[in-house]
């Protein structure tokens, strides 16, 4: 996946570099409707400019093709940018790369890449960085902030260009494979496996929903949580994630869910159930 393209032309190198720079603004015009649609398109523009400069109509098509909902991790998304650049290039050169193909690849890879990127950055590296840094911070030592910036922020930036190049290489060298052998599907599936295993793990490591309820009979009492833990630990956490998932599927807004959680939390705390 990360082979180095040997014969990268100066033009390609330049474009890849410019996309990397612009990819920094991926979250730039983030909102709840189309998410990073504009950030992604903005980042891709150096490539589109190269390929369709002369042709207003094709440029418009390309811009519209990408100005659609996309939501992925700002740094792992670079892989997708590279892949899409390669696809657009093939398309511009007259290869049989349809507009749907490009859209499908974006749609199928954005989720898995978000899962991987979020797990590694938002969760693992951030928590490691913060965990080490907090000790310094609590002593009033500024080094804590620097360690955090290094561990989390440094890797976040360092990874972008290699991922972009890897995506482009894959797209350029293995396009034939990718389509003919259905490898895009294989890639998506593999990425989903990766993402889902991590989400499964995160349910347990990120969450900790418990109840203080205890059933008392005479002198002995059984903590409900102890019983739950013996059956399935983190059972309440799983249920919570599952309920939220179902609510989102039924188009309940995030804000509603967050407020609902606060109301629910206060109610449960009032009733001493949680």
């Amino acid at each position: 996946m990360t082979q180095v393209v040997k014969g990268l032309t100066p033009q390609e190198k330049k474009t890849l570099f410019r996309i990397t720079m612009r990819s920094n603004l991926m979250n730039g015009s983030m909102q709840a409707i189309k998410r990073q649609a504009m950030g992604f398109t903005y980042a891709l523009i150096p490539a589109l400019a190269d390929l369709y400069k002369g042709d207003k109509k094709k440029m418009a098509e390309a811009l519209q093709r990408h100005d659609t909902f996309i939501n992925t991790h700002a740094s792992f998304g670079a892989f997708l940018l590279g892949l899409v650049y390669a696809l657009e290039k093939q398309k511009a050169e007259g290869k049989p790369v349809s507009s749907e193909m490009i859209t499908n690849i974006k749609a199928s890879l954005m989720g898995p890449l978000a899962g991987i990127g979020d797990s590694i950055f938002h969760i693992t590296l951030r928590v490691i960085g913060a965990g080490i840094g907090i000790n310094f911070a609590l002593e009033g030592n500024i080094v804590g902030a620097l360690i955090f910036l290094l561990i989390y922020g440094g890797t976040f930036l360092a990874i972008k260009y290699p991922l972009l190049k890897a995506g482009y290489t894959l797209g350029t060298n293995y396009l034939k494979d990718l389509f003919e052998k259905g490898l895009v599907q294989s890639l998506t599936k593999a990425a989903s496996i990766l993402g889902l295993m991590m989400v499964g793990g995160l349910v347990s490591s990120l969450m900790n929903v418990t109840t203080p309820l205890a059933i008392k009979f005479g002198e002995t009492s059984v903590a409900l949580q102890t019983m739950l833990d013996q059956i399935v630990p983190e059972a309440l956490s799983i249920i919570t994630v599952f309920v939220v998932y179902k609510l989102i599927k039924r188009k309940v807004s995030i804000t509603m869910i967050a407020f609902g959680m606060i109301v629910f939390g206060i109610a449960m705390s009032f009733l001493k159930i949680m």
Binding site: I45, D118, Q185, A190, T210, V241, I257, I266
Partner: protein, 255 residues
């Protein structure tokens, strides 16, 4: 009001720099705390408070756009209240929670504005005018992205911590306890969003295995990442081989 202006400007500037990398790094309490401390003349308190807030907000991250609280707004106001308003560090930390949760909803309030801007992008795209498209992206993020947040910060500092504190003091204890309970539920939002993006019923088994490895064996996130990566690799190559065999009837083997 000078303080309010300074804090609000700092809020906007730091956000702007952080966002120039889509970084979500400078805006974390552990980094933002010292910065607000600096502009308010008490770096040390800023550092310590940043550490304390980070410890609380460590698990509150924006996944799928779904962070359940705004750690950055909370940091800006709480650091100011402690340094300027003289409330204790602990009281500041307690305050951060309702503030962060309320602030989260600014995004929702300004949605109509965003919707309006989106249409401009669509026009430029339809015209193939990639230069204006790029320009609007800059305007959007610099001017509009955090406009209302900045105003809220300004107001929050101007009105002062006292008002906010006295408001929270009249609350019965189960309210704050309840907010803590809600805090334990919040990460489910991000995970739920992620699931809507990647869940496939055929792959449920992998999710369960990930869960068990952490819940029963305590393998840690990095361990799970390695196992998950390895599993993904294995199934990728199995799948790729299958595809290769299917497409070429000569039955060539990948491995």
């Amino acid at each position: 009001m000078t303080t309010a202006l300074i804090v609000a400007f700092t809020y906007w500037l730091v956000y702007w720099i952080d966002e120039s990398f889509s970084w979500q790094a400078l805006v974390r309490p552990i980094v933002a705390g010292p910065i607000f401390g600096l502009v308010l003349g008490d770096v040390k308190t800023g550092i310590i408070l940043g550490g304390m807030l980070e410890a609380i907000y460590m698990g509150v991250v924006s996944i799928g756009g779904g962070a359940p609280a705004d750690a950055y707004v909370a940091t800006a106001l709480v650091v100011t209240y402690v340094i300027q308003g003289g409330i204790s560090l602990e009281a500041g930390v307690a305050l951060s929670f309702p503030i962060g949760t309320l602030a989260r909803n600014i995004n929702t309030l300004v949605l109509p504005m965003h919707a309006y801007l989106i249409r401009w992008f669509e026009k430029f795209a339809a015209a193939g005018d990639y230069k204006s498209y790029s320009f609007l992206q800059q305007i959007y993020r610099i001017v509009f992205s955090r406009l209302f947040h900045t105003i809220v910060i300004f107001l929050g500092v101007w009105l002062g911590g006292d008002a906010v504190v006295s408001f929270f003091n009249v609350l019965p204890p189960y309210i704050l306890k309840g907010l803590t309970v809600a805090g334990a539920l919040f990460p489910a939002v991000g995970l739920g969003i992620l699931l809507t993006m990647i869940y496939k019923k055929e792959l449920t088994g992998f999710m369960i295995i990930g869960f068990v490895l952490v819940a029963y064996l305590g393998i840690g996130t990095m361990g799970i990442a390695l196992i998950a990566g390895a599993t993904a690799l294995i199934f990728y190559f199995i799948d790729a081989e299958k595809k290769a065999n299917a497409s070429s009837s000569k039955g060539e083997e990948l491995f």
